[in-house]
């Protein structure tokens, strides 16, 4: 199953979503083939167990199928919409069951600081991703790590605080100040 390239696939994904909203199951199959590996990777990164990630993926695709007509092309790319459906589904599942998978040691160099450090990986990223990574690189290490732990691993501020041995309030402040900086950087 081959993940879709970022730029030339948006139109096709939008069309597939439109067909899904009309009940076209063959379009759903195409959509699943084109996007499931990427979306499953995102669910797995948050939930860390295959069975849980599969459950989140399944629920997310049912939402995508049923609410395909609520996707608004004016708001962003189809993949953005689907990624957030699966992220929110994964976070809900994570929090609902108060579930923490067997801890996978988080490696910030691998997860968050690839920008600038890994030209090969960076070359494969979209321009949007590169912009975000460039903005993240302008943060302090603490701000960046807290944001990435929350975003990629679904960690709550309390969990981040326990992991990096800092007060929860400090972590919340780092996240918020970091996000403000990211927004300002992206708006430039």
């Amino acid at each position: 199953m081959k993940p879709m390239a970022t730029h030339d696939s948006s139109e096709r994904l939008g069309l597939l979503l439109s067909r899904c909203s009309l009940g076209d199951q063959s379009a759903f199959t195409e959509l699943y083939d084109a996007t499931s590996a990427k979306l499953f990777g995102i669910a797995f990164r948050i939930l860390k167990r295959e069975a849980w990630a599969e459950e989140a993926l399944q629920e997310a695709y049912v939402k995508i199928w049923r609410y395909a007509d609520s996707y608004n092309p004016g708001r962003g790319r189809p993949m953005t919409w689907m990624i957030n459906v699966v992220r929110n589904q994964s976070l809900d599942l994570l929090r609902k069951a108060d579930y923490r998978a067997a801890e996978e040691e988080w490696n910030p160099d691998k997860d968050g600081r690839m920008s600038g450090d890994n030209p090969a990986a960076q070359a494969e990223t979209s321009q949007e991703m590169q912009r975000v990574m460039r903005c993240l690189s302008g943060l302090t290490d603490e701000q960046r790590d807290c944001i990435l732990l929350s975003y990629h691993q679904g960690y709550t501020p309390s969990e981040v605080a326990a992991r990096i041995d800092r007060p929860v309030g400090t972590v919340k402040t780092w996240i918020r100040r970091g996000l403000i900086k990211v927004r300002e950087c992206l708006d430039q």
């Binding site: 499931s36 609410y67 962003g76 953005t80 949007e128 991703m129 679904g154 919340k172 992206l186």
Partner: protein, 251 residues
């Protein structure tokens, strides 16, 4: 109102999108997004900003059984007994419906205020818009998390409004009883009876207002007409968090 503060909205939206909002705070924001398009737009903007981060996540092929299960669930001819999962997908649909309901309720309440003061409703809305904002809102869902009705409580004067979002399956000689469930101890108190599918409202006395103020959630059961039961005598049909729109608890 706290949620009218753009800085608060922005901070909560960022926290939500990054995944740092948890538990009741996360649920409260999701409930608010259903009735606050401005807040929802901020969350969407943050999701858009951060989504490129997710795109660097390595792809991972799910097992074939995932798609087989999906095929059964999206095929309307398949009777696999999984309808409960379908019904779980209530998050995206209610935005428009609930927002529309609140507009109706607010408009109706503006009229109520106007009638009380001898002014035209439009004048009230123009001169004192804050007066018609609800203080509490609860979106009550059935066991499959499908929204069934919206309950809103207003102050000045205390008043409750109930709006069914869809036809409710009642029983002969029974009414829908709305109860408050007190925060902390779970004490249940009767609040209002709903005869059918019609929108209804009633003034609240101090006891009723205090019950709403102290409630964690609202529930609905079917009770016999004319009964003055002190506790539910039948299973809970609908339930939902009672959200105080004016208090600061998230940050």
């Amino acid at each position: 109102m706290r949620y009218d503060d753009p800085q608060v909205q922005e901070a909560l939206a960022g926290d939500y999108a990054v995944g740092a909002l948890q538990g009741p705070a996360r649920r409260r924001l999701e409930a608010l997004m259903r009735t606050r398009p401005d807040l929802r737009r901020r969350v969407e903007a943050w999701e858009d900003r951060l989504t490129p981060l997710a795109e660097q996540t390595p792809a991972r092929t799910p097992r074939a059984r995932v798609f087989r299960a999906l095929e059964k669930r999206i095929n309307p001819l398949s009777e696999t007994g999984q309808s409960s999962f379908w019904e779980n997908l209530a998050f995206w649909r209610p935005f428009g419906a609930v927002a529309a309901v609140l507009v109706v309720l607010l408009g109706g309440y503006a009229g109520f205020i106007g009638y009380q003061s001898g002014q035209q409703p439009v004048q009230i809305a123009e001169t004192a818009p804050q007066q018609v904002l609800p203080s509490y809102v609860a979106v009550l869902e059935d066991g499959s998390e499908q929204p069934a009705l919206v309950v809103t409580a207003y102050t000045g004067p205390w008043r409750l409004a109930v709006k069914p979002l869809r036809p409710l399956d009642g029983e002969e000689a029974k009414v829908f009883q709305v109860w408050t469930v007190e925060r902390g101890n779970g004490t249940i108190r009767p609040l209002l009876q709903l005869a059918g599918d019609e929108q209804t409202g009633q003034p609240l006395d101090k006891g009723g207002w205090d019950a709403v103020k102290s409630s964690e959630s609202l529930i609905v059961t079917l009770e016999a007409i004319g009964s003055a039961a002190a506790a539910p005598s039948s299973p809970v049909l609908f339930s939902g968090l009672c959200i105080n729109l004016w208090e600061a608890n998230d940050t």
